[in-house]
Structures are given as structure tokens and as C-alpha cells.
């Protein structure tokens, strides 16, 4: 650019160097101005005295004024006596203002060694895991306490709130749960028939579907879906109430947030999840039966007869007993994470994510423990 040469004129007057910034020294030009200032500030020629003539700058803003100040400081630092002359009265205040700016050096942050950072991260994560476990235990205790209190005084329990949440978590969740479990039943049957047929055992697909769906898949799939669908919603609700100080407001009015907000939600979950798990299991069996008939050529009569032999009430009970426990743990984790939300939108997102991740993890771990337990008692 031809005008770039003209941004900062320099001439000599006696033994003084006179620098004359010209034209607009504003934010939009800062990109072109900074290198000019830097070139001046780092030039090695020694000077006794420098004048910065401001009479030809128009307009000037904080960016320009700061760059001039930076230039003046650079010359000063090299021992040149620097003056700002010809400053229009309009810009006096601004130039004075930036003259006082940036005097304190920002604290220099030392970069710790990589191994230290790694150890630090590991340590912190371990502590965080411990704390999360403690918080879950603590919430478990609190919910049990208010739960027992509610049993002693049933009129104090928030029935309306519970019904609302059953509607949201249970009733509104029915279609998607049915659809997903139906599809899983179909897939199980199709895969089973495809592979079992190779050694002529396709009839045993019915045993497999019946036991698998009733013992494991129905409850597990529905629990995981609920953790993603309702656990996350609980965390986000409670978290944003925490952000807007609604939780604090409740507390100061003498209400226990665990009793008012968390208990009805958890009870709603404990009621809804087994029902959804039952409906889901039925949908999966229906899907399995449908595919067995259409794809495997197994008549519905045969399917039902075989199913009756393969499963017992025990099979069903083993599955459905797990459901309330899963619901309880999803609710506890959602509540704990919701109450951990801090002021920022980012923390709300992070907490909602960990709510879903932790509850799905715990659901699967619990399922494992249940498997060991039922095996031990011979069910």
C-alpha cells in the first residue's frame, strides 16, 4: 500500500527525532499500524530525544493512542527523552488515559512440567471419582431420610409433582420405548434364526429371545433409554434451578430441595421404569415373534407354546426386580449432578453429560452384580 509509508513520518530537527503519525489511527487500521510501531520500537539507532507530533492524526481511538503510548515507552526505555507534542485537545483525555494503562505487568504464569501436569490430572480425577461416589452416597442417605419421613406423613408428600413426572417420564416415554424394544426384539430374532438355522436349531431361538429379553435386554435397554431421556432432563432442570438461585430460595423458605424437587422425581422414576420395562419386554417379544413367523417360518402357535416351556415366572421376576433399582440409581445420579451445576452454561452441559454417562455406567455395572447375585442364589 502506498499510504502505508505515510502512516508514520519521521524527520530530524536538530538533534531530535520527530515522528509524525498521520491519518486515521483507529481499531480497523491497527493491523497496519502495529508493524510500523514495532519497526520503530526495535530499531537500533540511538536517539537522544524523540518528539511525537500528534497534530496530523485524525481520528484517534484507544488502539491508536495505545500504539503511540507503546512507541513512547519503547523510546523511553532506551533512554531517549520522549515528548508528545501537538496533541489536539479532543484527544488529550484519551492519551492521558492510556498513559496509565498496562503499567502493571500481568502475572507471569510458569508452565509446569508435563509429568507434573499429568500426575496432577490423575490425582485430581481420582479425588473427583471419590467425591462423586461420596456425593451419591450422601444423596442416597438424604433421599432415604426424606422418603421414610414421607411414608410416616403421606400427606406431606408432593403427589401432584409425582404425577406430573410420571406423565413426563412414563406416559410420554411409552411410544419411543415400545418402538426401540420392538426393533431390538426383531433384530435378536433375525440374528438368532440366521445363525441357529445352520445347525438346525432354529426352534431354540424362541428360548433365547424369551430368556434374553425378560432377564436382561428389556430392563437394560429401557434403563439406558431412561437415563438418556429423563436422567438428563432431571439434571438440566435441577441445574438451571440451581443457576437461577431457585434452590437457594427454597432452602431459605424452610423447604428441603431434596424433599420438594428430588423425591417426587425419583419416586416417579421408580414407578415408571418397571412399567416401561414390562411394556418394552412385551414389545420385544412381539417383535421377536413377528420376525420368527415372517422370516423364520415359525408359526405363532409354535412360538407361544415353546415360549411357555422356555420361560417361567422366575425369568420375568429376575428382570423386573432390577427395574426399580435401576430407576433409583438413575434418579440419584441425575439429582447429584444437577445440584453440582455452577454458574456457567458450560457447567450445565458438562453436568448433564456426566449425569447420563455415570448413570448408564452404573446401570450396566449393577446389572453385572445382579447377574452374579442371581447366579449365586440359583435363579
Amino acid at each position: 500500500m502506498s499510504e502505508q509509508v505515510e502512516i508514520l513520518k519521521s524527520r530530524r530537527q536538530g538533534d531530535r527525532l520527530v515522528l509524525t503519525p498521520v491519518g486515521p489511527w483507529t481499531a480497523v487500521h491497527a493491523h497496519d499500524l502495529e508493524p510500523v510501531i514495532e519497526a520503530q520500537a526495535t530499531s537500533s539507532q540511538p536517539e537522544r530525544a524523540v518528539d511525537i507530533d500528534m497534530s496530523q492524526v485524525k481520528p484517534l481511538d484507544t488502539f491508536g493512542a495505545w500504539l503511540i503510548e507503546r512507541l513512547a515507552r519503547a523510546w523511553n526505555a532506551r533512554g531517549a527523552e520522549t515528548r508528545i507534542v501537538g496533541l489536539p485537545e479532543d484527544y488529550r483525555g484519551l492519551v492521558d488515559e492510556v498513559h496509565d494503562a498496562n503499567l502493571k505487568r500481568p502475572p507471569v504464569r510458569v508452565q509446569p512440567s508435563r509429568i507434573l501436569v499429568m500426575l496432577d490430572t490423575i490425582g485430581r480425577s481420582l479425588v473427583a471419582v471419590g467425591q462423586a461416589a461420596m456425593l451419591i452416597l450422601q444423596m442416597l442417605g438424604q433421599v432415604s431420610a426424606v422418603g421414610f419421613r414421607a411414608m410416616l406423613h403421606p400427606t406431606k408428600f408432593r403427589w401432584t409433582s409425582m404425577v406430573v413426572h410420571i406423565d413426563r417420564v412414563g406416559w410420554n416415554g411409552v411410544p419411543i420405548m415400545l418402538l426401540v424394544t420392538f426393533l431390538i426384539g426383531c433384530i435378536l430374532a433375525q440374528q438368532g434364526i440366521f445363525h441357529f438355522r445352520k445347525f438346525g436349531a432354529d426352534i431354540f431361538v424362541i428360548d433365547m429371545i424369551g430368556i434374553l429379553v425378560l432377564r436382561e435386554v428389556g430392563v437394560l435397554v429401557v434403563s439406558i433409554m431412561i437415563a438418556g431421556r429423563s436422567g438428563s432432563a432431571y439434571t438440566a432442570e435441577i441445574g438451571s434451578m440451581k443457576m437461577r438461585e431457585e434452590i437457594d430460595a427454597l432452602r431459605t423458605m424452610g423447604f428441603d430441595p431434596v424433599e420438594v424437587l428430588i423425591l417426587p422425581r425419583i419416586v416417579a422414576l421408580v414407578i415408571s421404569l418397571p412399567l416401561l420395562a414390562f411394556l418394552g419386554s412385551m414389545a420385544a417379544l412381539y417383535g421377536g415373534g413377528l420376525v420368527a413367523w415372517l422370516y423364520g417360518g415359525i408359526d405363532p402357535d409354535v412360538f407361544l407354546g415353546r415360549l411357555r416351556e422356555a420361560i417361567s415366572l422366575e425369568t420375568f421376576l429376575v428382570g423386573i426386580i432390577k427395574a426399580p433399582v435401576m430407576a433409583f440409581i438413575i434418579g440419584i445420579v441425575a439429582a447429584v449432578q444437577g445440584l453440582q451445576v455452577q454458574g456457567s452454561a458450560e457447567s450445565l452441559g458438562a453436568r448433564t453429560t456426566s449425569s447420563v454417562v455415570i448413570s448408564i455406567f452404573l446401570v450396566i455395572v449393577l446389572d453385572g452384580f445382579f447377574a452374579i447375585f442371581f447366579a449365586a442364589i440359583g435363579m
Partner: protein, 262 residues
Amino acid sequence: MNVNVAEPRREVVLSARDVVVGFGEKNTLDHLDLDVYRGEVLGFVGGSGAGKSVLMRTIIGLVPKRQGKIEVFGVDLDAATEEELVAVEQRWGILFQQGALFSSLNVLQNVQFPIREYLNVSERLMQEIAVAKLEMVGLSPDVQEKYPAELSGGMIKRVALARALALDPELVFLDEPTSGLDPIGAGEFDELIRTLQRTLGLTVYMVTHDLDSLHAICDRIAVLAGGKVILTGTMQDMLVSEHPWLKAYFRGKRARMAHLQD
């Protein structure tokens, strides 16, 4: 119609003509006209729900209008191209009522955000300018690393002001800048706005309810009632007006307590 007190010929930086804004059946702003001149502090008053914030949000393009024309720096915002709009947006700064700081960025990053996005400058200059802005609004360097959630209400307003001023705008919109501040904090904030307005040569459009602010720093006051600007003028003009709402507002009990009569 607009009862304009005789104004010297000055450059108009913002003009709204025949603006109609409504929600549902009701028109909140009904054929409203307004001019803002370069270098002035315009205080905008009106009853709660009269549409002060709606007008501000309409001007800055957050609320669609049904009719009318808004020109900022001589650019018609409806007819402007994308580039022209971005250019205008770089020349104005907005202080939202709750600060609207980005909660996932710290104080320094909040102030640097517009600079980083719009200007192609070095990391060092960005740092220095942001620190200078924070010092201008009276914040000490130890708040730089803090996040908005850790700040007090007054500090949030100051950081938000620093962010609004990051690109050295010519026109600044302030939505109730002193609301939520104690009288001392509010007084200091008024003083700060006045000082910055003089230093940086700002034009200030200030929505406010604070009679002290109106008295202390506004060059001109515009009054919104019934969807129109019913009067613009100095504090003196407000005090002599016989309009019932203005009488109640400027000469009522709270106004007397704010020593407006002396």
C-alpha cells in the same frame, strides 16, 4: 407529534422514522420518531412495559418491526447488505441489562472476543488493549482470570461495558446500566460513563429509570409513552412539562428525594 425543543444543527447518528413494532394485536411502538445526535448522552425514559427495551432491541436488530425505517450512521439497516451491517455492528457497542457475558469465557477473553473476531491484530496488542479497557472501566488486573459466575453485579456491568467498548465504537447502547447497583455503585458507574463518553467521544443511548443518572449525565432526555416519543429535551424541559405522566415521573415523591428540584 414529536415535541422537539429547538436543537442546533448536529450530525444525526441514529434516526428512527415511523417505527411500528407490535406483538400479537397490540402495537407496542406506534409510529415512533427519534433522532440521536453525535456526541450526546441521550437518556430514554418511560413506564415499565412502555417499550423502551423493545425500541432498543428493534434498533439493534433483535426485534423485527412492522413498519418504518431506522438509519444508523446514515445506513438504512433494512436496505443494508451483509457487509454494511457488519460494518455498522463494529461501530456500535451494546451493554445488556444483565451483562450478557459469555459464561464459558473469562473476563479477559470476554473483552478480547470482538477484537479477536473482527480485527486482525497480534495476540500482544489484543492483550494490551483488553487490559487497558478493563483499567478504563476501573477493574483491577486480578479479575482478568475470573469467570462471570464469580463476579459481583457491579463487576459484571463493568466487564460488560469494557466488552461493549472493545472495538472503540462511536455509539453505545446501555440498557439500564445502573439497575441492580447500590446508589454509590450507580453513582460511580454514571461517572464512569460520563468520563468514557468524553474521553472516547462516544454517543450514548441510555435506557434508564434512574433519576440520578438522568440528572447527572444525560444531555437530553426522550420520553416514551403510548408507543411514541412524547417529548425530548433537557431536564429543564422535563421539569416544566405539564404532561401528567411527566409530572408524576419528574416531580413525584421519588424525584423530590433525588433532589431534582434544586
